[in-house]
């Protein structure tokens, strides 16, 4: 079969293709974004959802319909999608549903380094974790099989190094899968309390059966060493650990939940010293110790950041002496020609208190602007800005501005916009939507506001200013902050002076995406010109 050098993300896409996935959906988020893009390039049906919750629901629906569905997101995206995910554990699925959680230990491009292995326990869902691209491919295929066999969503947990690292992958022959079909199962899928109570019991039964399966599945890899040191590990850490301690015995766990506790017990008993080596929280170590198995966990400093071969050597040596600082490189910054420069200059000049959001524009927090006072979560700029307005003394409340990017606004900013109209602060409020026509930070993905699909084809377009007017915001303006020099500052000053609700859409294409956007717009216009229906309209 074909051997290729693939990233972990590309390997999951290849598995989705070879595993007969009918629909892939998600929201862009580093390091998960490339999965759906690669799946689309391979000919799969892939689409961006407005946010992870909607993506999860579309995936659940597809799997209820008997399809194989793939839903991708970064770790913090699972927080957004958790509501449907937890109850999908009760309903189970008819086809197959695999959810990729792409975690970011070390926070290369994230606001926290939460360890999403805890989600498997909390939701009661099986979780697999690969250590390189070949395993990403194999375990993604295994996850679809597992999901179908136990009729449960399965979480494939990846981390930045697995997602973006490249290694050699051998693909298998594509599978023939069942065609989607609807089967009515009201008690199984309508989670009113009377149906949900037995559903919870069904879930626990499935998990008990999965735990028994985990004890014997060949997915977990055990190798014998000299019998002195035994290492229980998972994910990319297994690769670091093999290099750090080539003579040790290894139990590499691919089923991080449920754990094969009896297998681990026997392994620990077979070596003189058994150490659990894992990145992030002591997730494995806590469960293993709770089962009464004597293992050593890593010292606390190794909870933080990524592990590597050197850090694993330190863990094994119980060395907690200060670690060398990684090279202090140049931090990323707003592009020189970024259309947001005049926005940040104006915010600074007007001494605004800025409730910010997540995207490229978060880089405005760095010098020279230091133009952001808060940044918590996707869409949070609205709620946080409103909270500040509600409680601050009037002279400060009137300085508060919420700023949010176009894709982030569609993601979860819309809810905050509704809150702004429903619970308006006495001093009013000003929202600036930084609309650069793309999801810039993650590599210029489309979103509902661009009016183009993941594949850059024309589709329904959501108007940000139209939404703002429709929900009842009094002052809604659209301005090009580059073309109208000084205009943005004047407008912002005027709106801050009013005790009313205002939305300013600062619209100018991202400098990195502008050429592509023109190309896609032209392609759409050409297609439209050739279309008879459009002429008749």
């Amino acid at each position: 079969m074909e051997r290729r050098l693939l990233s972990g993300d590309e390997a999951v896409a290849a598995a989705a293709r070879d595993g007969g996935v009918h629909l892939g959906t998600g929201y862009p988020g580093t390091p998960s974004t490339e999965i759906l893009e690669a799946f689309s390039r391979l000919g799969g049906r892939a689409q961006w959802a407005p946010n992870e919750k909607v993506a999860m629901e579309v995936g659940i629906g597809a799997a209820f319909g008997g399809a194989r569905a793939l839903v991708t997101m970064k770790h913090v995206g699972v927080n957004v999608a958790a509501d449907p995910l937890f109850t999908a554990a009760y309903t189970g699925v008819e086809g197959s549903l695999v959810v990729v959680s792409a975690d970011d230990p070390g926070m290369a491009s994230s606001q926290n380094e939460q360890d999403n292995r805890h989600y498997a326990v909390a939701a009661g869902l099986p979780m697999l974790e690969p250590s390189d691209s070949q395993e990403a491919y194999d375990l993604a295929l295994a996850a679809f099989e597992l999901s179908e066999r136990w009729q449960l969503p399965v979480i494939l947990r990846m981390t930045t190094r697995v997602c973006h690292g490249k290694s050699i992958v051998t693909r298998r022959a594509p599978l023939a899968v069942k065609a989607p079909a609807f089967r009515r199962d009201i008690a199984g899928r309508v989670m009113i309390p009377a149906y949900a109570r037995p559903a919870h019991r069904r879930l626990r039964k499935k998990l008990a059966s999965l735990a028994a399966w985990a004890e014997t599945t060949p997915l977990n890899v055990e190798t014998k060493g000299d019998g002195k040191l035994g290492i229980v590990t998972a994910g990319v850490t297994a690769r670091h650990a093999r290099e750090a301690a080539p003579g040790a015995s290894f139990l590499e766990l691919k089923t991080v939940y449920p754990l094969p506790l009896e297998k681990i017990r026997a392994f620990a008993a077979s070596v003189e010293r058994c150490v659990v080596v894992e990145e992030g929280d002591p997730f494995l170590a806590d469960q293993i110790r709770a089962a009464g198995i004597a293992v050593e966990s890593k010292p606390e400093p190794f909870r933080f950041g990524e592990l590597n071969v050197d850090r694993v050597r330190r863990i094994l040596a119980r060395d907690t002496s200060p670690e060398p600082e990684p090279p202090k490189g140049k931090p990323p910054q707003l592009c020189e020609a970024c259309p947001y420069h005049p926005v940040y200059a104006a915010l600074r000049k007007l001494d605004a208190i800025v409730a910010g959001d997540i995207g490229c524009y978060t880089l405005g927090v760095l010098p020279p602007y230091q133009g952001m006072d808060t940044c918590v979560a996707m869409g949070a700029s609205l709620g946080v800005g409103l909270g500040l307005r509600h409680v601050l003394p009037e002279k400060d409340a009137r300085r508060v501005v919420s700023i949010i990017g176009d894709s982030t606004f569609i993601h979860t900013g819309v809810n905050g916009l509704i809150e702004m109209v429903y619970n308006p602060p006495e001093t009013g409020h000003v929202l600036v939507v930084l609309d650069n026509g793309t999801t810039a930070m993650t590599g210029q993905q489309e979103h509902p506001g661009t009016g183009r699909t993941l594949e850059h084809e024309q589709t329904g377009k959501i108007s940000i200013e139209g939404l703002a007017r429709a929900v009842g915001v009094k002052n809604v303006d659209v301005i090009d902050p580059i073309a109208d020099v000084g205009g943005f500052e004047k407008l912002l000053a005027d709106r801050l002076g009013k005790r009313e609700l205002s939305v300013i859409v600062a619209r100018r294409a991202c400098i990195l995406a502008a050429a592509d956007i023109r190309k896609w717009e032209k392609a759409a216009a050409d297609k439209c010109a050739a279309c008879v229906e459009a002429e008749n309209a």
Binding site: S109, G165, R242, M441
Partner: protein, 161 residues
């Protein structure tokens, strides 16, 4: 025990093609039948920040990340990154600095990444033909000529150096 793994770090600033260069190197090693692993962090890198990419190849590679201070070769595309990344190089490791190749001698300044790979190629046991295949596979056809020239200029420069 696996035979020795070759560790190469490519460093630069976002937009300079450090990741592209590491892709080409990884592909050349893959074409030569080596086990290859590659690791990098991207996401914010396009915004002009520091970028490093680790490429490791040999008979069998475990971790995709090169332990600090264990790089055999350090290819640096930006002058500002030389001192920052130097501690990643092992004692006796080879630095391939950006000024090894005079950008003015290149048909296109943007090919500095490929020119420095040409210089690196002098030190590695990978056939030149596979390097050029990897260069062509990584770039659109209109850029093949300038980059092949850049590769040869770098390769020539390293021989003199």
């Amino acid at each position: 025990m696996p035979s020795r793994v070759v560790n190469v770090i490519v460093a630069g600033l976002g937009g300079q093609g450090a990741i592209k260069a590491s892709d080409i190197l990884a592909d050349a090693a893959f074409r030569a039948g080596k086990d290859v692993k590659k690791a990098e962090v991207h996401g914010m890198s396009q915004r002009g920040g520091s970028v490093t990419s680790d490429v490791r190849f040999g008979d069998h590679v475990e971790s995709p990340m090169i332990p600090p201070g264990e790089a055999d070769f350090l290819v640096v595309l930006a002058p500002s990154e030389v001192e920052v990344t130097r501690p990643l190089l092992r004692k006796g490791g080879v630095l391939i600095p950006p000024d090894l190749v005079d950008e003015a001698t290149l048909p296109n300044r943007k090919s500095l990444n490929v020119a420095l790979l040409g210089a690196l190629s002098r030190h590695l046991d990978l056939p030149e033909a596979l390097w050029l295949e990897a260069v062509r596979a990584a770039l659109p056809e209109r850029l093949h000529d300038v980059n092949e020239k850049a590769f040869r200029i770098g390769r020539e420069r390293a021989r003199k150096g």
